[in-house]
Symmetry: C2
Subunit: 201 residues, 2 copies
């Protein structure tokens, strides 16, 4: 594309470095900003720079944080005796969005994956064990992907945490609500029969 | 979505104001920036702010420009005796991308549309007539959408420009190259027969 302007070209290039944004979309975004007042672009840029400069990692759970502790860890109304172990921030947000969980979290930062060269030392496992060892935590809920790597990670974590005597659990697996039985995969359907729930609960 | 961070929330909100970017995509873009070095976000923001602050309108053709004249108008190797009249910058870019046109442009900034309340006075028509009246322009090519509003605009421009004696032309309409005849609309197909071209040209 020929923009006949270096300024436009650089702005399009900037947008096009973002994932999922090609040069045509980037141009559309640039032309959109040009139609708006200058202050819109300034505020947009400031929000991004402030975010990137100011964001920290929660010293307790490794979530994104504006202060030393993230909003969740700093919230005294939440149940500090429960930890939910998740792989990523997206998983944490997905659980938060359900509004069903009022405990704290612990972000692993990934799962054990020999293929990708990710071992236990690359994940936030030591800090999890330390948190549990303080004795304030009563239950650790594993909310890890039900894949081979995920199961390996859960197995590893369980071995590390069992000596502390903490109660371990895993999020329930089964057929999706609203899901058609015939479209559920065999393993999920099989396990959902084995792990059946008494009627009325 | 619950971001448990005001900084993240503001950055997501900023991206989500852009057209075609929802909050899920915005979050993906923010997390992408977080994975990169801080300088990436700084350079991104700087490119946008520089663009928005520095961009001007070409004093001659109304294209986007870094200087008083846009790169096209300032290019002495181009044919300054031809003007191609387009509605928008996107149309100009589309023609530039073909690499088939080496003249100059004139951006109308839209087309005459009584429904949208756009009259001739809202478009860059006076400056077009002035450019042509200088006598340096030999041909004006109308590259306007073949819609009712477009035809009205072309008719209006023709009446304004005819007294100058400049040669007027319109881009060719017809069946697309590679297009299947059966999928061409009736009007295009009909006109393409009337405006048939002698074989071999």
């Amino acid at each position: 594309m020929n923009f006949s302007s270096k300024l436009i070209e650089k702005a399009v290039d900037a947008f096009a470095t973002l994932p999922g944004i090609g040069r045509k979309t980037a141009l559309r975004l640039v032309l959109h900003l040009l139609k708006q007042d200058k202050t819109v672009t300034e505020q947009f840029s400031t929000a991004l720079v402030n975010m990137r400069e100011g964001i920290r990692e929660c010293t307790q759970c490794h979530n994104l944080a504006d202060e030393d502790l993230c909003q969740i860890c700093a919230d005294t109304r939440r149940d500090h005796s429960m930890l939910c172990v998740v792989e990523t921030i997206r998983d944490l947000m997905a659980i938060e969005d359900t509004g069903q969980y009022r405990g704290l979290y612990h972000l692993l930062g990934g799962i054990i994956s020999p293929i990708e060269g990710i071992g236990p030392a690359d994940l936030n496992i030591d800090s999890l064990v330390e948190r549990v060892q303080t004795g304030a935590v009563k239950e650790v809920i594993m909310a890890i992907s039900p894949t081979i790597e995920g199961e390996t990670t859960v197995y590893y974590l369980a071995k590390k945490l069992q000596p502390t005597g903490v109660q371990l659990s895993s999020i329930a697996r089964g057929v999706s609500f609203g899901g058609d039985l015939e479209y559920a995969d065999e393993i999920t359907l099989g396990r959902s029969i084995v792990a059946r729930i008494p009627y009325g609960q």
